[in-house]
């Protein structure tokens, strides 16, 4: 057993003294430090933007004057762990919930909700982010550290054999499996060194700069991510050692390993993406939605025709600005209430119909994702990417949960708004405030003033929308999106983790089997 420790020590020392290790260490640490620093600034500005947006959006609700235009912007709080895995930049930071729109993950592509933050255009934009936006710590470990692992072990056994040291090693009373274990652990420690150093560097940076504060759950998530990264390196090293046992010469071993790296890291994931796209074509969303809209349009015209007996009246205009409803009579307003009782449920039903179409598309996207995941399942690179994105909450699963939470919230919002449907439009607010209606007394009073102060007094002072009192929304359910819980994220990471473990164990068993038959 102590023999293993000696071998581990020797492997570590040999690596520390080798140029390839020093170069790898410096490159990885620099990259993690640099990318981590840039992403830290990015996270800080996203966090700031989130706070500003959340504040602005809750203030917007305070001034709401009609139920029908209530639109709730749900801001997705940035997850501190997304520092390590940024995810796609196209993913939304705000989900818009309104009676006329049920949020789905498709909103991310801009079909419904706002992706950009309104009114926060003057955010400090980090120019470096443009360069590094697609590179995150997950990418560095997934692609660059795996390359580093290959360089560490491509000649693990073939090199010792060529060098002539393998026989000296094996003349000692150590078992071959012991030798394998020692070499493997030594390589793992060597590979873990730059990762650990890089992450420590980042943590120190966060502490010094105060830009990132982590909750205990975040620390736990970070620890899980570290563990997953070590597992990934372990998997790649096991694969590397296995290949080095099959290669006659170190050089061919290196070539084979680079080939495996390209296949596992690039060919398989990209190929799986294409095949999955081919297997699961996305439904023609826009076409179906246009159809639904046309059906709604016909039904809407019918209702409108019946209600107004063919005549056009400002009271029935849905899309005119609020000012056009001021100054209408009480009778007109009451007619409008009756009309609303029919038209708003139709609008809500349309939203539901849109949702069903989008939901089907959403599910076909999910099926595509599942197909892709099973197609490149044997690639450790893909599995690791999945783990990191799941833990960082930047994968499709986390967004699915976030949108489901937004839909749940919309349900409670609709429960609150539905009974208010009849009074949900601009025009009905006039009913609350008789002083705004064109009664005889009001008319004579304002005509008097208009004579003295000029005609604009009607619009400036009387029919001015600012005179309408804001709604009392104290009973309205408030939005609250949280960073998805660690437990759920861990759940998502579990399967790819198990996959990596199985792969690693498989590679090691095969390496052991081969080594026992390896002519020294």
């Amino acid at each position: 057993m102590t023999g293993i420790l000696d071998i581990i020590r020797k492997e570590l020392l040999i690596n520390l003294l080798s140029l390839r290790f020093i170069i790898g260490l410096v490159v990885v640490m620099l990259l993690i430090g640099l990318v981590g620093y840039v992403l830290t600034l990015d996270y800080a500005s996203r966090r700031q933007a989130y706070i500003a947006a959340a504040e602005q959006h809750s203030r917007a609700l305070e001034d709401a004057k009609v139920y029908s235009t209530i639109k709730v912007e749900m801001d997705i709080p940035p997850n501190p762990l997304s520092l390590l895995s940024r995810g796609s930049k196209d993913l939304p930071v705000t989900i818009t919930v309104s009676p006329y729109h049920v949020p789905t993950i498709l909103d991310a592509s801009g079909s419904g909700a706002t992706i950009s933050l309104d009114g926060t255009g003057d955010l400090p934009v980090n120019p470096l982010l443009r360069v590094f936006s697609s590179i995150d710590v997950g990418f560095i470990v997934g692609m660059i550290m795996s390359l580093f692992c290959i360089l560490l072990v491509f000649d693990s056994f073939s090199g010792e054999k060529e060098q002539g040291t393998l026989r000296v090693l094996l003349s000692a009373p150590v078992g071959r499996l012991q030798l394998l274990a020692g070499k493997y652990c030594g390589a793992l420690l060597s590979a873990a060194t730059p990762l650990t150093a890089g992450l420590l560097l980042l943590v120190i940076l966060w502490n010094i700069s105060g830009l990132v504060t982590l909750t205990p759950a975040d620390w736990l998530g970070l620890a899980c991510m570290y563990a997953a990264s070590i597992l990934y390196l372990a998997c790649f090293l096991a694969l590397g050692i296995l290949i080095s046992l099959f290669a006659e010469e170190s050089v061919t071993g290196l070539v084979h390993q680079l080939l495996v790296w390209v296949v596992a890291g690039i060919v398989l994931p990209a190929g799986a993406g294409y095949v999955a796209e081919f297997l699961h074509p996305i439904l023609p969303e826009t076409e179906l939605i246009r159809e639904a809209d046309e059906n709604y349009g016909r039904a809407y015209s019918n209702v409108r025709y019946q209600q107004t007996e063919g005549s056009w009246n400002v009271a029935y205009t849905d899309y005119a600005g609020p000012e056009s409803f001021l100054g209408i009579t009480e009778k007109e307003a009451l007619n409008r209430v009756e009309y609303n009782k029919i038209i708003f449920p139709m609008k809500f039903a349309l939203a539901e119909e849109h949702f069903h179409i989008r939901d089907a598309v959403q599910r076909s996207l999910e099926r595509r994702e599942e197909a892709r995941n099973s197609l490149d399942a044997i690639s450790p690179v893909a599995a690791y990417g999945r783990i990191v994105r799941a833990l960082a909450g930047s994968d499709i699963g986390s967004y699915r949960r976030t949108f489901a939470a937004a839909r749940n919230y919309r349900e409670s919002l609709m429960e609150y708004l539905r009974p208010k449907v009849a009074t949900a439009a601009w025009v009905t607010r006039v009913l609350d405030q008789p002083e705004l209606q064109p009664t005889k007394e009001n008319m004579s009073y304002w005509n008097e003033r208009a004579k003295k102060e000029g005609e604009d007094v009607f619009l400036k002072e009387w029919w001015n929308w600012s005179r309408v009192k804001p709604l009392d929304l104290s009973a309205m359910p408030r939005p609250n999106l949280e960073v998805p819980g660690l437990r759920e994220r861990l759940g998502d990471a579990l399967f790819p983790c198990a996959l990596l473990m199985v792969l690693t164990a498989g590679f090691l068993v095969m390496a052991g089997w081969k080594l026992l038959r390896y002519p020294a």
Binding site: I14, T165, L170, S171, P173, G175, A520
Partner: protein, 235 residues
């Protein structure tokens, strides 16, 4: 101490490299294995350390089967190859320390390593030099230092003096006789008939995997080993 019983090795390509070899080397004996290139000497030695597996027979060290219990057998034997290769980035002392600890001796200090290096005749200034700067003779000496520190009762060497200059070769042989004096059983393959004659207690001649002659020192006294060797090679 070092024993082969009907030891046979046929390589995967069908080449019968070793055919029913029988050897028995006692403590305090030097056994020199002579033979042309490709006679099967290295194959024999490799079998004792389980570098390869025999296709028949058994190799035993101190009574331990080298195939069934390779770790147990290797505890009792030290190995010096034709061309000792060590970790070039390690110093002589670091190499010595690593392999000695691996052999199970972990109680030694720097001075112990220096002492052995002095004993095998390495120059003092090279103790903390990287091995990649070493000449072949120095590496062979370091190899035997590793073997000495293992304190194994059996010593198996594969052409340890080939390529050494005469002085280094002579020093090496002197070391071996000293180790014999300590009671070690020594198996050494070599091309060097003169040295073999000088130090060997038993000489064996191999040809195409077969041990065709074995003579003890007493029987060699009045014969010319070179003539015998060449005679056997002819037939």
């Amino acid at each position: 101490m070092i024993q082969a019983v009907d030891l046979t090795k046929r390589y995967e390509d069908g080449n019968l490299a070793l055919d029913h070899l029988n050897l028995n080397i006692q403590p305090g004996q030097i056994y020199c294995l002579l033979g042309a290139n490709g006679a099967g000497k290295t194959t024999t030695i490799n079998l004792f350390f389980n570098f390869i597996e025999p296709t028949g027979g058994t190799a035993l060290i101190n009574g331990v089967d080298c195939t069934k219990d390779p770790i147990g057998a290797k505890r009792h034997a030290a190995y010096v190859s034709e061309n000792v290769m060590l970790y070039g980035n390690f110093t002589a002392r670091q190499n010595l320390e690593f392999f000695t600890r691996l052999a199970g001796r972990r109680e030694l200090g720097k001075e112990d390593y220096y002492m052995v290096m002095r004993q095998v005749g390495l120059p003092e200034r090279s103790f903390e030099n990287r091995v990649k700067t070493f000449s072949k003779g120095m590496r062979q000496k370091l190899g035997i230092a590793i073997a000495i520190l293992k304190q194994a009762p059996a010593l198996i060497l594969d052409e340890p003096t080939s390529g050494l200059d005469p002085k280094a070769g002579a020093e090496f042989m002197e070391l071996l006789t000293r180790l014999r004096g300590e009671g070690k059983a020594i198996l050494m393959s070599t091309h060097d008939i003169f040295r073999a004659r000088e130090v060997a207690d038993v000489v064996g001649i191999m040809k195409e995997g077969v041990l065709i002659m074995e003579k003890s020192r007493e029987n060699l006294m009045y014969e010319d080993l070179e003539k015998i060797y060449l005679k056997y090679m002819e037939v």
